[in-house]
Symmetry: C2
Subunit: 342 residues, 2 copies
DNA sequence: TTGTACGCGTTATCAG
DNA sequence: CTGATAACGCGTACAA
């Protein structure tokens, strides 16, 4: 009853060795292509592997060579339309290098972030890709104390951790400048969580554009949101309720832009005729929404890919230094800013 | 140089034992709360754990107890808006039980599916959640030969594998019946990949509704799509080009419904005035699209959760039998079918 | 070229 | 209640 466990359980290297009448060292060598082995033995071993449906136990290998061939991917929420493409970029690149990716959703809660970091540490992942929420400084610090490669995604946080980000200042500038060139003079900004570097930089670009074109900044035209559809809707309602005149809105992401447009439409203001709107991200829905959304496209899939390349370079030791990759965003002009008809 | 590796590398149970001046067995017992240990020892050990920032090596544990505490999640594409909520449901439930989820995107390619199955097998995941593409029978067979728990998601495939699905026949019936009740008589069906059980069942529900209300089925009103926006657009164009009269369209998913509406609008046909449209899934965009989409909601998040519960029951041996959980979908009436105004 | 034997970090069995 | 110690499956010096 103890022998011949063949069928159900997974075959081990020992089973293969026995079946091929060689030592386990030989099997290992053949499978890993290390030393050279005589053809006849290779043949016997390969036959046994096939026969027993042998698949090396990655856990055992991981323990031995001290690399799990897996990376952790921590994000706020896969249901946020910004992330699927990012995740896909990460997963594709990881799989190409035979790494598994462990997905973690934190809802931007610091406690969840920390929990996942510990979890991944226990799992001994070879690297962590981290997109933190607005209050993640402590966790970024925590990450930097770990002896494990980390790449920050879409966030720059004061530290010596590598990062893949887009040029948000430029993006904010382009969106605002576009509105100005469309003849808008009173441009509101619907912000995201103010703690995020990406948001700060977009706002900075917004301010720079106003200044460069001689437009007066106005604190009352800036409303905070949290990247959700709802918050965009609310921000627009506050803007309207405040009694401020405005003819343009730059929202820090597409979801809020859509939320804002929904409110404006419900209120009876026509977009873009009366109010021109631009978003940020270029999520898939942006092209299908009515009016289609003028926005700043971030090459999200590529960001995911790059982050993986970067972290694998760190893991394999090909580049141990701090690196920051800055990707350039692109303005996509559609209807919501009056772009297509104007 | 060989001692005191404390700082950089991860501390091991041995380090803790040494620091606390106890045996590793004692450390293990305390950490796992197995036997009872005297308070003073507990204290010393806990102090050492804290001091050394000890986190158990999950790989070693996995090797020993033969459970990796991870499950594989194989889906076609996280960028398809149907999946994020599903994935989120899976991830949340998995994390609650301390399982990691390894995400795999196959683009519905059988080769990719197989590659990932092998990959996960090597990783010795404790279970696999599988949503296959149209040509996945062979891979489902492969899965059933593995000695690892599997739960099929959103697909029923002739086999003895457990599954979590929705009642697609009912969903198809509800969507079609709704159109009929709205006064439509010539209702087209834009199908998904015909090999999928979900698609066959939706089509069956569509046919049953027609029959029950005494409407004649018409092969020419059925067009195949592949669940993509593009294919919905194309299907609508073929429908129009065929010269067939039709006043309603039931699309097998929301993306195709939106694609179809886009074509109809471009062609000059008004939705819902001239043609009423219903989709399927109730993706997030369905509520924001103009016209907002009447559709059949699938409780996707819950499906993901259920699948995890099911597979954990299998893993822990609480339920080794074949189980099929059928979730009931729900009709959501919005503008695209004329529901809101009429 | 091939085989023997040790150790990776755990858990669990068996003595004491 | 506590401590040696044998596995788990694999890779790799070292020996032959």
């Amino acid at each position: 009853m103890q022998q011949k466990k063949a069928d159900l359980a997974n075959a081990t290297i020992k089973d293969v060795a026995r079946a091929a009448k060689v030592s386990i060292a030989t099997v290992s060598r053949i499978l890993n292509g290390k030393d050279t082995v005589s053809p006849p033995l290779v043949e016997r071993v390969m036959a046994a592997v096939e026969e027993l449906q042998y698949h090396p136990n990655a856990m055992a290998r991981a323990l031995k060579v001290n690399e799990s061939r897996s990376i952790g991917l921590i994000i706020p929420d896969i249901e946020n339309p910004f992330f699927p493409a990012l995740v896909r970029g990460v997963e594709d690149a990881a799989q190409m290098h035979h790494y598994a990716v462990i997905l973690c959703n934190t809802d931007s809660k610091p406690e969840e972030e920390e929990k996942y970091i510990r979890f991944l540490q226990s799992k001994r992942v070879d690297g962590i890709l981290f997109t933190g929420g607005p209050r993640s400084e402590r966790n970024v610090e925590l990450l930097s104390t770990l002896s494990i490669p980390v790449v920050l995604l879409d966030r720059r946080v004061g530290s010596q951790l590598s990062a893949v980000i887009t040029n948000n200042r430029l993006g904010g500038f382009m969106a605002t400048e576009h509105l100005i060139k469309k003849g808008r003079r009173r441009i509101a900004f619907i912000s995201g969580p103010a703690e995020l570097s990406s948001v700060q930089e977009r706002r900075q670009g917004y301010a720079e554009a106003l200044e460069q074109y001689g437009l007066a900044p106005d604190q009352d035209l800036i409303q905070a949101g949290d990247f959700s559809f709802e918050s965009g809707y609310q921000a627009a309602s506050r803007l309207v309720a405040s009694g401020q005149e405005f003819d343009g809105v730059f929202a820090a992401n597409d979801l809020m832009a859509i939320g804002a447009i929904e409110y404006l439409a419900a209120y009876g203001l026509r977009v873009p005729a009366e109010i021109a709107v631009t978003g940020y991200d270029d999520i898939r829905m942006a092209g299908w929404y009515k009016p289609s959304l003028t926005t700043v496209r971030q090459p999200v899939y590529i960001m995911g890919q790059s982050a993986v390349k970067m972290i694998i370079d760190r893991i394999t030791g090909e580049n141990r230094q701090y690196t920051e990759q800055i990707i350039t965003p692109e303005l996509v002009v559609r209807e919501s800013s009056g772009g297509k008809e104007g």
